[in-house]
Symmetry: C2
Subunit: 387 residues, 2 copies
C-alpha cells in the first residue's frame, strides 16, 4: 500500500503485468462528470529514479500499443514496441532516465477499460463510462504522483500518445519539463475519424460482438477486430507502400480477395493477432481520439492551450505520414511559438509513412537524441553515458 496525495493505492503483479489500483478514496474524475473507481493502471518502469526525482520520463503509447515499450509483452509474447528509442544507450537512455509507460485508461493490457472487471465482478463492456484523452492523462497523473514524482522530465508519445503528451503539457504545465510529440496532431482529422468509424462499424457488424458483451458470452469479435487492426495497419504505411501492396489489381491476371483475419489466423507467427487488442477498447479509445481538439478547450486558439508554460517542446513529423501529415505538426509548433514556448519542429524525410516512428530512421533518432540531451542539460541532468 502506498499513499499519494492522501489517496490509497495498491501495487499488484499478476501474469507478468504490474499495476496500481486506486481505491474509492481516490476516484478518477471523468470529463463526462462521472467518476470511475476503483481505477487500475498497468504500467512498466525501466531504469532508476534519481534521488532528486528529476529524471522521470513518461511514454504514452499509440492507440493499439501497450506499456511494454522496452521489454517483451509477457501476455502476447510480442517484443518491446519501441526498442530503438527506449533502452540502454538509446535516445531515451534507461541508464540515465527513469522511464514509465502505462497501459492507457480504456486499454486492454491490465488497466481499467471495457475488458476489465467492474466492481460487480463482471466485465465492464459498454457499461464503462465514455472517456476522453484528458481523462486518460488525468489517470496517468495519478500514477505519476503515486510514484512520488512531482515533475516529469519528459512526456513523449506517438499518435494518440502524442495527443496525450500535448494534453499533459497543457493541463499540467508545471509538471512537464519537456514534451515530445511524435507523428501526431492537436486535433483528430476528419480522415482519421472516418478510418476510426469504419473500424468501429466493422467491430459492431461482427455477430460475435454481441452488443459489446462478448466477454460475458465467452466469444470475441475476432474478424471485426482484425478489420479495425487492418485500418490502423494500412494507415500506418506510406502512400507508395499502400499503392504497391494493392497494385496486384494491375499486375496480376487474377487478384485474390483475401480477408486479413483469415490470413492472420493461418500465419503461425501471428497467434494472438486479434486477441491482443480488445475490440471494445478500440471503440472507447478511438472515440476518445475523435473527440480530441485541444484548441477547442481554449476558445479555439491552440496557442492559448500553452500559456504561462516553461515546458520545452519538440514536435517531430515524418514526410510520408499521410495519417498525421507534417502540416498538422507544423501547426502545433506554430501555436507553441505563438504562445511564447520554446519549441523545435523537425520534419524527418522518410518513406515509411506514419509507422516511421517504429522503424530504423537514424535521422529521427539523432533529432530526438539532440532534443532530449539539450533538455537534460537544461534540467541539470548528467550527460549521456553517466548516471
Amino acid at each position: 500500500m502506498i499513499h499519494a496525495g492522501g489517496a490509497a493505492a495498491k501495487l499488484q503483479a499478476a501474469g507478468g503485468v504490474r499495476s496500481i489500483t486506486f481505491d474509492a478514496t481516490a476516484p478518477l474524475q471523468l470529463s463526462s462528470g462521472e467518476t470511475l473507481s476503483p481505477l487500475t493502471l498497468a504500467f512498466e518502469t525501466y531504469g532508476a529514479l534519481n534521488t532528486e526525482r528529476t529524471n522521470a520520463v513518461l511514454v504514452c503509447h499509440a492507440l493499439m500499443g501497450d506499456q511494454f515499450v522496452a521489454s517483451p509483452n509477457p501476455v502476447t509474447g510480442r517484443p518491446a514496441w519501441w526498442p530503438r528509442i527506449v533502452g540502454p544507450g538509446r535516445p531515451i537512455d534507461t541508464n540515465r532516465f527513469f522511464v514509465i509507460c502505462a497501459n492507457t485508461l480504456g486499454g486492454s493490457m491490465g488497466s481499467t477499460g471495457p475488458g476489465a472487471m467492474a466492481p460487480d465482478a463482471q466485465p465492464y463492456g459498454l457499461r464503462l463510462p465514455p472517456i476522453t484523452l484528458a481523462d486518460t492523462v488525468r489517470a496517468q497523473s495519478m500514477l505519476v504522483e503515486a510514484l512520488g514524482i512531482e515533475s516529469l522530465f519528459l512526456v513523449i508519445g506517438p499518435g494518440m500518445g502524442g495527443m496525450q503528451a500535448l494534453n499533459w503539457a497543457s493541463a499540467y504545465p508545471k509538471r512537464v519539463f519537456a514534451c515530445a510529440t511524435i507523428a501526431s496532431a492537436a486535433k483528430q482529422s476528419a480522415q482519421n475519424i472516418a478510418f476510426a468509424e469504419l473500424g468501429r462499424q466493422a467491430i459492431m457488424a461482427d455477430p460475435d460482438w454481441r452488443n459489446g458483451a462478448y466477454l460475458t458470452h465467452g466469444v470475441r469479435p475476432a474478424k471485426g477486430a482484425a478489420v479495425a487492426r487492418t485500418a490502423a495497419h494500412i494507415a500506418g504505411l506510406a502512400a507508395t507502400e499502400v499503392r504497391s501492396r494493392f497494385d496486384s489489381a494491375r499486375t496480376k491476371e487474377r487478384f485474390a480477395f483475401t480477408l486479413e483475419a483469415d490470413a492472420a489466423q493461418r500465419a503461425p507467427t501471428s497467434a494472438g493477432y486479434v486477441e491482443r487488442f480488445d475490440a471494445n477498447s478500440y471503440l472507447y479509445l478511438s472515440r476518445a481520439m475523435d473527440g480530441f481538439d485541444l484548441a477547442s478547450d481554449y476558445g479555439g486558439r491552440l496557442s492559448n492551450a500553452f500559456q504561462d508554460a516553461s515546458t520545452r517542446h519538440g514536435v517531430f513529423a515524418f514526410s510520408s505520414d499521410w495519417r498525421f501529415p507534417v502540416d498538422e505538426s507544423r501547426d502545433i509548433a506554430r501555436a507553441l511559438i505563438a504562445s511564447g514556448a520554446e519549441a523545435s519542429f523537425v520534419e524527418i524525410k522518410s518513406e515509411r509513412g506514419h509507422d516511421a516512428y517504429l522503424a530504423d530512421e537514424p535521422a529521427f533518432e539523432a533529432a530526438l537524441t539532440g532534443f532530449v540531451d539539450a533538455a537534460a542539460a537544461a534540467r541539470g541532468l548528467a550527460l549521456h553515458g553517466g548516471v
Copy 2:
C-alpha cells in the same frame, strides 16, 4: 437485334431495367487477357439523338451509382441521382442532348457483374474475371457504337465516373469531343485505397459473404456491405461535417456505439439500403479503381495520355473534398495543358465535401453550364432552349 460493327447485340427490358447484350461474336477483351462473353450492359437514355448524331452525352456513374441518372430507379425506388445536372433545362439539358448512362461493367444494376448470371445459369460470384476501369470503358464503347454513335459530344462523370471519362478521352480521343471530370483523379490515392480495402475487409469478414458465393446460398453480407457503404458515405462528407457528426464524444455525457447497418434496417425509408449495391460489385469495382493510374500506362507521364487529342476538357473540383482533393484535379489540368489540350480547371468553393457534386451548388452548375454551352457552340449544336 441490332448490328454494330459486325457484332450482334440484343436489346431487352425486364422489371424496368433496359439492357443490351452482346453475344459470343462480340466478346469483351479484358485487360487481364481474358475475354468476357456474353456481355450485358443495362442503360438508360434521355432526350433524342439528333440526325447528325452529334449530341450524345455519356454519363459515367460513381462507385455506388447506377444508370438512373435522371429518372427514378424502378428496382430500389430511389430517385434519380443527378437531377440537378441532367434533365430538361439543366446543365446537361435533355431537351438538347441525347444522354446515355450505363450501369458499369462489374456493377449490380443489370450489367454483367459478379451478381449477374454466368453462362452456366449460376451467379458469377468471384468467378468473374478481374476487371479494370479500362475494361469498363471498353464495354461502354461497345454500347455507344451499338447505338450508332461514332463520336460522343461529351463524356462526364464524378469520382469513379471521372476516372472513366478521363480513360475515354485517353483511349478514344477522336470519339470524345468534350470531357468533364468531376471530383475525381487520374490515379487512386493511397487514402482511397485504404478506405476501399477496409470496405472490402468488412464485407469479407461478414459470415454471410460465404467466400463470395452468398447468392448461391440465398444470403447477403448485409452488415459488411453496410460498413463499406458507410466508408463511402463518411468519405463523401466535408471534414467539418465529419467532425460535427462525431463530436458527440465531446458534447454528450454518453455516446452510443451504433452499427450503421442496424440504424439503416430500423429506418423505414431506407429499405434496400444494403440491398441496392452488391457486395461483390464493391470488391470488383473498388479494386478496379485502386488499380487506376492513367499515367502509368503512358510511361509515367500523365500528359502523354492525351497526345494528339482535340478533346476539350473541363476539370471540376470542390474545395472541401478531402477524398479527391483539389490538388489532384489541378494535376489533371496541368497534364492536359502540358499535352496541348484545351482544358479549363474550376475549383468550386463548397463546404459539402466530395458529395458536393450531388448538392445544390449554384457555382458548380453555372461553371458546368458554361463549359457545356461553349463546347456545344464549338460543335455547332443549337443553343440552350432550342433543339
